[in-house]
Assembly symmetry: C2
Homo-oligomer: 492 residues x 2
């Protein structure tokens, strides 16, 4: 695929107009919920509700049949009862619509009869050259177009994580998760459902070409086209990291996948091999999948596996050090040059081993400026982990201590927090090394939201930060391997 | 130890009066921060600040020397410069004070000279029969006495997790963590620092006897009295679960621990063996330590390792199933009796395999009442995992659809949410089986805070819930083993 517009997913992810089937003025219907979410998030394209009786649906002009539409929309969104999906798809084809999302369930995931129904819609799609996602999916979200075509009414922030998921929940139910934890959102998310037509492979290619996507998350219950999957992933991984979470490998997982999307999962070790060959980083949980994507999208690729840890609390530092060990991260001793430069900033209770445990800093601002600059200049380290505990309240007290007038304090606190966070983010860019923060605090703390919003990823525990750094290192390794094998392709 | 009052920690955790050294009217000093935290949290005991010059400290009458105090306080809290700690401790001994917390750092953790200083204070303590925690610790918190003697000003909610930690951060920096994630707090937390006198073993015995503590968390960098540790833990584990997080086992972890508290960590496998012998559940991260304690303190002990999963989202259900496999949890097929009872509640898109994936429920309240009741009655299952997605907004829409007057909706929503959460909690109690929830939502969602506050633990991901259930099952196994070996003690 040379450009994104050639992807079968292009007009599904970026439609200028949508024919909508299944919304009515009965707000409790699933279709109404989805249309409600689309309207609520501010989609700016044109929507044509199709409804046999209602003249207007949610205050938009409705049409009794798809044939009556004044033009051919980019795609059809189908949230109808199972038994009328096939005839609707046929009518869409006759109208000239070439893309569809079929949300309706009751197909291959419910046994033999459902399988027959699925074959029927596939045949209709083939006849009319319709490419579609689903059935039994939740829809699509393209936050950069304000298109949230899922039933969860929630503003998904535009972000850099592109997602293809065999569970719709891991898209829609993650809007809030990514937003409240990291201040992040999706670039584009595809719920694939039964993958009767468009599948994971198409999504990998689309997201690989999508300019808003910096890291790709895959939730996998089974891969249907093994060879094509590996080829697509290898190609995309060279320039964009892919993280996969696969649950079908265990006995319990396999059974659950079968009931969920009718998919036949394979042994865990097989999938492990597929991911390795494909240059894909494997995550072991939903949390980890998003942690990895967050770090991979926010940080430069490290040159190696040597990190330095900056902390002012010993326990979190020790926990991070221990977790680094388990994630294949080395913590080298600091060079004499670095030790000399650090000297003036370290109180007598502190330690300049790695972790660098300051215990406290006389000037709290050193923690965001002078100290990380020195540590990033250390030639023996490729990346940095930083524990954050600072609070705006601390700055406030310090300002009060300096007799700053009460009415100026709020503004000054805001300005200081902002500058410190910006300094940290600028250091990551200027030194071209990953800086990964960790903290037990949430975005309610102004430093945490400030750092995250300026581009420094902050994860919620030392272990999760160390594992995410491990994923960055693994991505470098996988990418090098892919480029080596590419060169070999030319040689042989 | 027969009663809690005989513990050397009793008057440290439950002091009626405190002599405070190191607070002044300079608010940026560490000692002032601690006194500020104590006062802020509403401690109701008597405080005697000792300060050579100030007549009043933070508006409390101060005394120039400890000898001048009008009575002998229960303990001394020492946050002074390193060089005057020894003489202060001696003066306390002369006054008749028999308990102390020494927060000051600069002892065994900073090398030879510091070790000599530590020996000196140990000798003084022995001479005057003073028992103390520290030095180089952060203090003590007893939320049930509103005593937060740490430098983080934050109201720690009274909770059931008792903690002993070789890092103060894992106490103070967890007030916010436990509160915002789980709506929980500590019963009592001890920061141990260098453990020059009172150590982890004393804490285990104290927390074992503490009536407010239902689960014990230990953060360990090294165990100093191996044999006593095992004995104390074995005794306490019989009636109260203990969870330990040990970070000294890796090379990086070992080095970090040495700089942090001057402790000599041992090989990971050795500690693994110690924990097993002691009946202690091992956690692999800070998050996991608190997840486990939360679940262990909130749930009954399961009869075995068979669980049923209730969900209305396939992906989170499949992820939970897969994680159960990795945590040694079986998911048995449901009996025909259960299947018959479930029938009317499961729509045609749902699945009655285990996970029970409802996809949706016509009456959302069934999810909190009829369905979990049926699943808890299943004789083949010992516990239940439930995925929560419900939102108050959903109930609000449903009520609006039923034409409930606008002004009554808020009250009714609150009442309904409350009743559903209470129903779930009551089902756990009446069936005496653990019910563990999981959700990607936070306490901002009224159902999540409602469930947590009524006593149903809700963890933030399927994997973490499955691992916590694994910890419950492991506790049952460990406890049985301890009781068996107890019987053998009598036989041999």
């Amino acid at each position: 695929m040379s450009t994104i517009t050639q992807s079968p997913l292009y007009k599904i992810a970026c439609p200028e107009s949508i024919a909508f089937f299944g919304a009515s003025n009965n707000f409790s219907a699933m279709g109404s919920s989805i249309l409600n979410a689309i309207l609520g998030d501010g989609y700016e394209g044109r929507i044509f509700p199709v409804h046999p009786e209602e003249k207007r649906v949610m205050d938009i002009e409705a049409y009794p049949r798809v044939g009556d539409l004044p033009r051919v929309p980019d795609m059809a969104y189908i949230v109808l009862p199972t038994r009328i999906v096939a005839e609707t798809l046929r009518a869409c084809g006759q109208k000239g619509i070439r893309r569809a999302v079929i949300v309706t369930a009751g197909f291959s995931e419910v046994g033999t009869e459902g399988m027959a129904r699925q074959e029927e819609i596939k045949a209709i799609a083939r006849k009319y050259h319709i490419r579609f996602t689903g059935p039994n999916c939740i829809g699509v979200v393209n936050a950069h177009m304000k298109l949230n075509a899922t039933f969860i009414p929630s503003t998904c922030r535009p972000g850099f994580i592109g997602m293809a998921s065999q569970s719709g929940s891991f898209i829609t139910q993650m809007f809030d998760y990514l937003g409240t934890r990291f201040g992040r959102g999706f670039s584009t998310g595809f719920s694939l459902g039964n993958e009767a037509d468009i599948d994971m492979v198409d999504c990998i290619r689309y997201l690989g070409a999508c300019p808003n996507t910096r890291a790709i998350a895959l939730y996998i219950e089974s891969i249907r086209r093994g060879r094509a999957f590996i080829e697509a992933a290898r190609e995309v991984s060279r320039t964009k990291p892919i993280v996969a979470f696969y649950v079908g490998g265990s006995e319990n997982g396999k059974k659950a996948c079968l009931s969920h999307t009718g998919s036949l999962a394979g042994p865990d070790r097989l999938y492990d091999g597929v991911f390795k060959q494909s240059g894909i980083i494997r995550a072991r949980s939903v949390e980890e999948m998003f942690d990895f994507c967050y770090a991979l999208g926010a940080c430069p690729v490290p040159k190696g596996n040597r990190a330095v840890i900056q902390t002012h609390s010993g326990g979190p530092g020790a926990a991070a050090a221990d977790a680094c060990d388990r994630s294949g991260i080395e913590l080298p001793a600091l060079s004499t040059v670095t030790l000399e430069k650090l000297g003036p900033y370290v109180p007598h209770t502190g330690s300049v081993n790695n972790p660098v445990d300051l215990t406290y800093t006389k000037n709290p601002l050193d923690f965001f400026q002078a100290i990380p600059r020195i540590l990033l200049e250390e030639e023996g380290a490729d990346s940095m982990l930083v524990y954050f505990l600072a609070s705006a309240a601390m700055i406030r007290r310090a300002l009060a201590g300096l007799s700053v007038p009460e009415e100026e304090i709020d503004d000054q606190v805001l300005k200081i927090v902002d500058e410190q966070c910006a300094s940290m983010a600028a250091l990551m860019t200027s030194h071209d090394k990953p800086v990964l923060g960790f903290s037990f605090l949430t975005r309610e703390n102004q430093f945490i939201s400030g750092l995250q919003d300026k581009g420094v990823p902050v994860l919620p525990s030392p272990e999760r930060a160390a594992r995410a750094l491990g994923a960055l290192v693994e991505y470098r390794r996988l990418r090098e391997k892919l480029f080596r094998s590419k060169r070999n392709d030319f040689v042989s």
